[in-house]
């Protein structure tokens, strides 16, 4: 069985039918056992419930059953032949922010429910915001109790529209909707005959098929050393292995690595795993790296590529969620901070603002954070941390704070960037080595609005991705022509991947890391052109989702519109066209790493546009994005 594991975070109150939905998923996948069912039937009867309360399946503690509430995160498990599912189910009442954040921290997918009769509530928006803050890559909104609104498509469409508009203000990369009745079983496991108008998959099918493999960061190699294995026996005397979990990138024997903080370099001599040596290690594998040279490395150190290092800094900005009921955030005492495999002392230097999770309002006057509060802080640590922004890497971008007096975990944080740098600029800066830490940005005297206003233009980046021969350049050139020859011309410029490789990117090949760097450079150029008021039309295979996401991130942080356009021409068709003869060469074995043949292509999970095969329509679609 080669199935994957998918972690789901759910949240909500009893009324929206969440427990019924989980109960039904467990029941239909045969994950509830008879004795469990009998036991909750007995309890329901004893309490005088009219129906067996499926919530009792998850409410395990005596106080919960007696008071009919959920206190804590409960884990439930079910499996289909395709996947193993772990649900972290969190209650919807007061403790909810803390529990929801906990459940979402590891989740691949957040499952939200709304009652079709009530529509999108404050609670729904709050759940969506927290999922987005914790960067859960996929979100599914179930419009439940469709049976109570006569399976009315109009009501579903209205809720869908309202939530889509709200979600556009958040950073949710993949958003799905399913109209269901958990009680009646409509669209939960099987397609509902009551809603023939719904063309999507039932919920379980969606959960089985949502693509999660490329949610990981496979570009920025990060290996926090967890434990050094040195056997004392005579035959293993020379063995010195660095054990840990890969949290970013792909490590291969022969790769050059750098150890932080020592900045000593070596190469990977071998990768040991529980089942023997492997040719590559990627997240979330737990492996042991062997190095060619004897360099000093110990727990808390980080192994990375010399050309792609995390930020090393003692001060940084972060979003902090306060968990502890018995204390509130203080800026005058040291906390213990755990980041990857490292503990350091840390002070919260300043609370920048508190975020109201209902209105998104930023309270700049807030004096402290209390339980379930979220705010932006500046943190100073006793020694440097090696981090990425949480946006780029959920592991190297996260930390917890512990109160040394009580040893309680009082808060959890997500790193926004190093202090003193504009948020997000660190993301771009880390790819260059050595990391430049003393660069300050020289602000322009003109604001973007002034510049664009005076020129009568609006900059943006349109990123066309797809296989070689899919028609990216053809579309880009046609759009460029249309924009420039319009009655009111709009400056536009095509950045073509092949052309740029003759100059700007002449020193790059086609290895995964070179492809990543190629995308990064083109992304930066596109952003600068857009900043100047031009519509950058990028035509680039850009096969890896993480690379494209980084480009989106630098645009979002700069506040410049970015549209990912997927030119989804099937491989067979691209190969039939083969305008550059590349496929023929690849099939003849002359090229080994052509995307789609010898090298993978990761399709966008949520592109802003998938183009029509017809060129004229495609051009109109792309221009439609700008309007």
């Amino acid at each position: 069985m080669a199935s994957e594991m998918l972690r789901i975070a759910t949240a909500g109150s009893v009324d929206d039918g969440k427990s019924t939905l989980i109960g039904r998923l467990l029941y239909e996948t045969k994950s509830i056992f008879e004795d469990q069912l009998e036991s909750i039937e007995r309890t329901s009867e004893k309490r005088g419930d009219e129906q067996t309360d499926l919530a009792l399946l998850t409410d395990g503690l005596r106080a919960e059953r007696e008071q009919g509430i959920t206190i804590d995160v409960a884990h439930r498990y079910f499996a289909t032949p395709k996947r193993k599912f772990v649900i972290a189910d969190t209650p919807g009442h007061i403790q909810y922010t803390r529990n929801m954040v906990t459940g979402a921290s590891n989740a691949n997918l957040a499952l939200l429910l709304v009652d079709a009769r009530k529509g999108v509530l404050e609670q729904t928006r709050r759940h969506a915001l927290l999922s987005s803050l914790l960067r859960v890559p996929h979100l599914v909104l179930c419009v439940n109790k469709m049976d109570l609104v006569d399976y009315d498509q109009g009501i579903y469409d209205e809720i869908r529209e309202e939530f889509t508009q709200f979600a556009a203000r958040l950073e949710i990369t993949d958003l799905g909707f399913v109209p269901i009745s958990a009680l009646e079983g409509d669209n939960v496991v099987t397609r509902s005959p009551n809603m023939p108008w719904f063309e999507g998959q039932p919920l379980l099918g969606h959960l089985e098929d949502v693509h999660i493999a490329s949610d990981r960061n496979l570009v920025d190699n990060r290996f926090p050393v967890q434990y050094v294995i040195r056997p004392q026996s005579a035959e293993q005397r020379d063995y010195r292995g660095f054990a840990g979990t890969v949290v970013g990138g792909i490590f291969k024997p022969g790769d050059e690595v750098m150890a932080l903080p020592s900045r000593r370099r070596s190469r990977i001599a071998g990768i040991d795993t529980p089942t023997g040596s492997v040719a590559q290690a990627f997240p979330p594998m737990a492996v042991t790296l062997l190095l060619e040279d004897e360099i000093d490395v110990s727990r808390g150190d980080m192994l990375c590529r010399p050309s792609n290092q995390p930020t090393a800094n003692q001060t940084f900005e972060a979003m902090l969620c306060w968990f502890d009921e018995t204390s509130s955030l203080r800026t005058d005492i040291p906390y213990q901070l755990k980041h990857t495999t490292k503990w350091v002392a840390a002070e919260v230097e300043a609370l920048r603002y508190q975020l109201d999770v209902d209105t998104l309002h930023r309270d700049l006057e807030a004096g402290t954070l209390e339980v379930n509060d979220i705010g932006r802080v500046a943190i100073h640590t006793s020694s440097p941390l090696f981090f990425d922004t949480y946006r780029l890497n959920r592991t190297t971008g996260s930390f917890i704070l512990v109160d040394p007096a009580t040893n309680l975990t009082v808060a959890a944080g997500m790193i926004i960037g190093a202090a003193g740098e504009p948020a997000g600029e660190t993301a771009a800066a880390v790819a260059e080595a050595p990391v430049a830490t003393n660069i300050t940005f020289h602000p322009s005297k003109l604001t973007r609005e002034e510049r664009w206003g005076a020129l009568g233009t609006r900059g943006a980046t349109i990123w066309l991705t797809g296989l070689s021969g899919s028609g990216k350049s053809t579309i880009a050139t046609a759009v460029e022509h249309t924009l420039i020859s319009a009655p009111v011309p709009q400056p536009a410029f095509v950045l073509d991947g092949d052309n740029l490789r003759h100059g700007l990117n002449a020193n790059l090949g086609f290895s995964d890391s070179d492809r990543a760097e190629n995308v990064r450079r083109v992304g930066e150029v596109a952003r600068i052109l857009a900043e100047a008021g031009t519509v950058s039309l990028v035509s680039l295979v850009s096969p890896f989702r993480a690379d494209r996401d980084r480009v989106r991130a630098i645009h979002e942080e700069a506040g410049i519109p970015f549209y990912e356009v997927f030119v989804d021409t099937p491989l067979e068709e691209c190969e039939r066209r083969d305008p550059k003869g590349l496929y023929a060469k690849a099939r003849a074995g002359e090229i080994t790493d052509l995307t789609g043949v010898g090298s993978p292509y990761e399709a966008p999970s949520a592109p802003d546009l998938v183009t029509d095969p017809d060129l004229e329509i495609a051009v109109r679609q792309v221009i439609g994005l700008l309007e």
């Binding site: 594991m5 884990h75 967890q226 056997p231 840990g244 979330p284 737990a286 980041h339 512990v402 959890a412």
Partner: protein
């Protein structure tokens, strides 16, 4: 060498997460210990520990809380595993504590389930253990579904379910004061079926009673009990020879068998995949006292 893809199967993911936890404890605690009963969950845990530190030996001892009411096949298995892998074994004996008068029993064959807690806590205290690995899984039982991976215990070994540390990402907080300890559950997210599939995949050796064999049994209060020195034939009952196997391994006085013809991993997995009763419900008299039996025992310091 593995294939060139960058996808990890569910079992490989579970394995990686468990190994991460095992290494984290070995790195951060001074005196960890792993509980070992000879049951399949502790066999799995030990197997993962051997993999986590290979080629070095497992860097902590194992401890068996011995009630004196064991199936002989399990004790034989335990001693064989210890010898084979050069492990250090601590035994926290309930019988010894009964003999010395520190544990009072009504009669010789009453359940020693609760007495285990005394022996366990004394074993932890006397050896100064600060982290104690247990093979508990969240799918086993409702109270366990609320358990953390790193579960804090006060100096009396007690669990406070309403006051647990939040656990995010894979950042575990094992900080504690002297005399307190942390229970660590590295296989929290494995289900019974996962355990069987993985043990089969890895061809791990298990005590023979996990596979179907002929045994003299009697049906008693809904459980299929083996008749032996720990469970004499009740008055008026009739024993029969049947093909049975065990889904869990506990005391011979309270652990029931299930009727089965599954004599190898493959057929056990087939049976497990279609089982309609939980392993504890099918076989454990000790969990049947009340709805909250497990919660109460856990609060007192039970595994």
């Amino acid at each position: 060498m593995r294939a060139a893809g960058v996808e990890l199967s569910d079992l490989a993911t579970l394995e990686a997460e468990s190994i991460h936890i095992l290494r984290e404890v070995a790195a951060e605690f001074e005196h960890p210990v792993m509980l070992f009963s000879g049951g399949k969950d502790s066999v799995l845990m030990l197997h993962l520990a051997r993999k986590a530190f290979a080629p070095a030996p497992v860097p902590f001892p194992i401890m068996h809380v011995d009630t004196g009411h064991n199936f002989p096949e399990v004790i034989e298995f335990r001693d064989r595993v210890v010898a084979e892998h050069g492990l250090r074994l601590e035994v926290a004996s309930v019988q010894e504590r009964i003999d010395s008068g520190r544990i009072q029993v009504g009669h010789e064959l009453e359940s020693r389930n609760r007495h285990q807690t005394v022996a366990l806590l004394e074993g932890i205290q006397q050896n100064g253990f600060d982290a104690v690995f247990g093979g508990g899984r969240r799918d086993e039982e409702k109270a366990r579904a609320k358990e953390r991976v790193f579960s804090f215990r006060d100096r009396f070994g007690q669990w406070d379910p309403k006051n647990q540390r939040p656990e995010l990402w894979n950042l575990y907080n094992g900080r504690h004061k002297k005399g307190e300890h942390i229970r660590v559950f590295p296989i929290s997210d494995w289900t019974e079926l996962d355990v069987w599939r993985y043990l089969a995949q890895e061809e791990v050796d298990l005590p023979s009673i996990y596979f179907a064999h002929e045994r003299e049994v009697v049906e008693h209060e809904g459980l299929v009990m083996a008749v032996n020195e720990f469970f004499p034939l009740p008055d008026g009952a009739e024993a029969r020879i049947e093909m049975v196997r065990y889904r869990t391994v506990g005391d011979a006085t309270s652990t029931g068998a299930v009727r089965s013809t599954a004599t190898d991993y493959h057929s056990v997995i087939e049976e497990t995949a279609v089982a309609r009763v939980t392993e504890r419900g099918a076989t454990r008299g000790d969990d049947r006292f009340s709805e909250a039996a497990m919660e109460d025992r856990k609060k007192e310091g039970y595994f």
